[in-house]
Amino acid sequence: MSDQSHAPTDHDLAPGEEEQHSVGTRILGYVVGLALALLLTATSFFIAGTDLVWQPSIPVALIVLAIAQMGVHLVFFLHITTGPDNTNNVLALAFGLLVVFLVVGGTVWIMAHLNANMPPMDQIMRMQ
């Protein structure tokens, strides 16, 4: 199968295959990623229990921190970049996000309308 990837300079490398970085740089990348991930995790735990901020803002803060955590993972561990060699990965991520948004968002919407329009299950059972 080796002769199917034509030239090593092709913009056709899988993530992790790129060899241009030295080991040191790559380790540094992972360490920074780990530090950021730990920081974000610690902040989440701290925020959840604190009374330093306005209470209703806590869920929002947690959501923001969670999304930031995903970003850190994508950039430092899954090596998503904006480079031309990463078009497939970025498109796959976009498609995945779209599908998750459609299915989760659609489900929440459908079930909310259903609950508004239909009596709860135990009420139906009592009616019978």
Binding site: Q4, D12, G96, G106, T107, M111, L114, N117, M121
Partner: protein, 666 residues
């Protein structure tokens, strides 16, 4: 020791499944004995069962689908006879048996006929069309196939050991929950689909990677044959949608095995959530099946009209549009659930919108044929038959997308007729077109045209005689899944439908005869050039059947319709003169990983169904150990020496020379 399994699992009091099971068992034993006595076993093991060659795996997928088509078809015949006779009587099938039959029919036809058929064709053809030597993950491919076969085996095992689900093909709770289905039927259903679902997901990942990463030199995205595009779209949908099915069934299994309450009536479970989730998979699934069929029709129509595909770019756009919109319409399967007019209206409109890209495709095919020099060979007949049939099915679909109309027709025979209209007219006709079209590529000889045309006409007419009465019965108020009925007005239509089923059966028999006749006359039907239909894409640029390495040299693609282009410029000859030196080719080694993995998965699935916990652990450990052994292998490739490549390639070039000189003049 054996969990819930004892002698009462064998239905000794029911002659139909026992006799059917015995016949199948005798047939399997006869084939096995023949294989062993004739000494074919080593060949079968080393060349097919352990093969990681995408072409062989594709052929095995299609073989599995064909065998299961006969099983699912037998169920259909039994149902049509039952409804023809069960007017004010019980018919010949008791209700619990009838319920198992319609559940098994749906499950088998979707998961073990339509899915393996299209995945088989994609496996067989896509690497050839892309001009590459194999798929991205050859051994994973074999694992995927064998896990699908495991699922099929478990479903068929339920015929004689235990029972199958009586819940319909999607096992809606609360009927499928433990309180209403205490038997093993639903467990057979769920575990078969979980195991074969892993196989399908693996195949999806493999084919997406193949299309994205392994294309020959010059094969840009916008030079790919349409079948590769629809394969990409369909497999993206597999990767996105099948995890939803797996998660939903896992929740149902947790309810059944560990007393959870996801979908139960009591303790806060929500039955509606199952409908919602299963259809969030179920609607993309429809397009997973039909998109590859659209790709096949594109190839066939273009080849047999002798023209490039009309509106190639609009076709690509339509394919990708369907790929995305298919995730926005799932509620139209349960308009009647009560989500209210806002939700129903939005999903109704989305369902009508998705008909637009499909309409674009239909017009593209028609314009491809317009002004072309059309040859009505068997694959083309299936394609034209598809266009007629699918338009009817599509229009009844648009009708059902109108929520008020759907409230009248929901779960009626009209619905049954509609989805058979699109699945038979779309997917099955597509699978048959692809089968007839690519059979010479896979085996090196054509199929008999006379029997092929007979098969088409019987199937085509049989289809309408069977399903038009079902539309009418639906309009008259007949609901689906009825074991017996008392309405006199439905009776004549049920009888006509049964007659249609007989005509359809003749079509299937013609198809079997066609294969037998063709194998007998294979010398006369031999395809020596590798290009029997005057094809346009790269699969026709190699011999039939292709050598294990597909292409001696990776083809250099300079435009759409790569092979047509080469022929037109008689490039083959010039290429031959300045062909570079033949080089050694490395190919992946065959591996029993897939078969052994599936063997243990079968043991595990069976044990899970019957609650035999020690056997579950045994099967799980076995499958895991197989994976470890594979991961630690030392030699995963072997080398085909350059001389051997040269020898094989020269034979094909000799045969092809006449053809090429002719093609230059066309």
């Amino acid at each position: 020791m054996l969990g819930k399994l004892d002698w009462s699992a064998i239905p000794f009091d029911q002659p139909i499944p026992l006799i059917a099971g015995a016949v199948v068992l005798v047939a399997i034993l006869a084939v096995l004995t023949w294989v062993v006595v004739k000494g074919h076993l080593p060949y079968l093991w080393s060349e097919w069962i352990t093969s990681v060659d995408h072409k062989r795996i594709g052929v095995m997928y299609i073989l599995l689908a064909s065998v299961m088509l006969l099983r699912g078809g037998s169920d259909a015949i039994m149902m049509r006879i039952q409804q023809a006779v069960a007017y004010q009587s019980q018919g010949y099938l008791p209700p619990e048996h009838y319920n198992q039959i319609f559940s098994a029919h749906g499950t088998i036809m979707i998961f073990f006929v339509a899915m393996p058929f299209v995945i088989g064709l994609m496996n067989l053809i896509v690497p050839l069309q892309l001009g590459v030597r194999d798929v991205a993950f050859p051994t994973l491919n074999s694992v995927g196939f064998w896990l699908t076969a495991t699922g099929a085996l478990l479903v068929n095992l339920s015929l004689v050991v235990g029972e199958f689900a009586r819940t319909g093909w999607l096992a809606f709770p609360p009927l499928s929950e433990l309180s209403y289905s205490p038997g093993v039927g639903v467990d057979y259903y769920a575990w078969s689909l979980q195991i074969s679902g892993v196989g399908t997901l693996v195949a999806g990942i493999n084919l997406v990677t193949t299309v994205l990463k392994l294309r020959t030199k010059g094969m840009n995205y916008l030079r790919m044959p349409m079948f590769c595009w629809t394969t990409l779209a369909s497999n993206l949908l597999i990767v996105a949608a099948f995890p939803i099915l797996t998660a939903t069934l896992a929740m149902l299994l947790l309810d059944r095995y560990l007393g959870f309450h996801f979908f139960t009536n009591e303790a806060g479970g929500n039955v509606m959530m199952f409908m919602n989730l299963i259809w969030a998979w179920g609607h993309p699934e429809v397009y997973i099946l039909v998109l590859p069929a659209f790709g096949i029709f594109s190839e066939v129509v273009s080849t047999f009209s002798g023209k490039a595909l009309f509106g190639y770019r609009s076709m690509v756009l339509a394919t990708m549009a369907i790929c995305v919109i298919s995730f926005m319409v799932w509620l139209h399967h349960f308009f009647t659930m009560g989500a209210g007019p806002d939700v129903n209206a939005i999903f109704g409109i989305a369902s009508m919108i998705i008909a637009i890209p499909t309409g674009v495709k239909i017009y593209n095919w028609l314009f491809t044929m317009y002004g072309g020099r059309i040859r009505f060979a068997t694959p083309m007949l299936w394609s034209v038959g598809f266009m007629v049939t699918f338009i009817v099915g599509g229009l009844t679909g648009v009708l059902l997308a109108v929520p008020p109309a759907d409230f009248m027709l929901h779960n009626s025979m009209f619905l049954v007729a509609h989805f058979h209209n699109v699945i038979i007219g779309g997917v099955l006709f597509g699978a048959f077109a692809g089968f007839e079209y690519w059979f010479p590529k896979a085996f090196g000889f054509r199929l008999d045209e006379r029997w092929g045309k007979l098969a088409f006409w019987f199937t085509f007419l049989g289809f309408f005689i069977t399903f038009v009465p079902l539309y009418i019965a639906g309009m008259l108020g007949m609901t689906r899944r009825m074991q017996h009925y008392d309405v006199a007005a439905w009776r004549p239509w049920m009888i006509v439908a049964a007659i249609g089923m007989a005509v359809l059966t003749i079509g299937v028999i013609c198809q079997i005869v066609q294969i037998v006749v063709s194998i007998r006359n294979r010398e006369a039907l031999r395809d020596r050039t590798g290009d029997p239909w005057d094809g346009r894409s790269l699969e026709w640029a190699t011999s039939s059947p292709p050598p294990v390495f597909n292409f001696a040299f990776n083809p250099d693609v300079r435009g759409e319709d790569a092979y047509w282009d080469m022929k037109a410029r008689a490039q083959q000859q010039s290429l031959e003169r300045d062909r570079p030196e033949y080089q050694d080719i490395e190919m992946p080694r065959n591996s029993p990983t897939g078969f052994v993995c599936a063997f243990f998965a079968t043991i595990m699935g069976f044990a899970l169904i019957w609650h035999i916990w020690w056997m579950v652990i045994l099967g799980g450990l076995g499958a895991w150990a197989t994976f470890v052994v594979f991961a630690w292998r030392d030699h995963d490739e072997y080398v085909i020496p350059a001389e051997e490549v040269a020898a094989i390639d020269r034979v094909n070039l000799e045969e092809r020379r006449d053809l090429v000189s002719m093609a230059g003049t066309v």
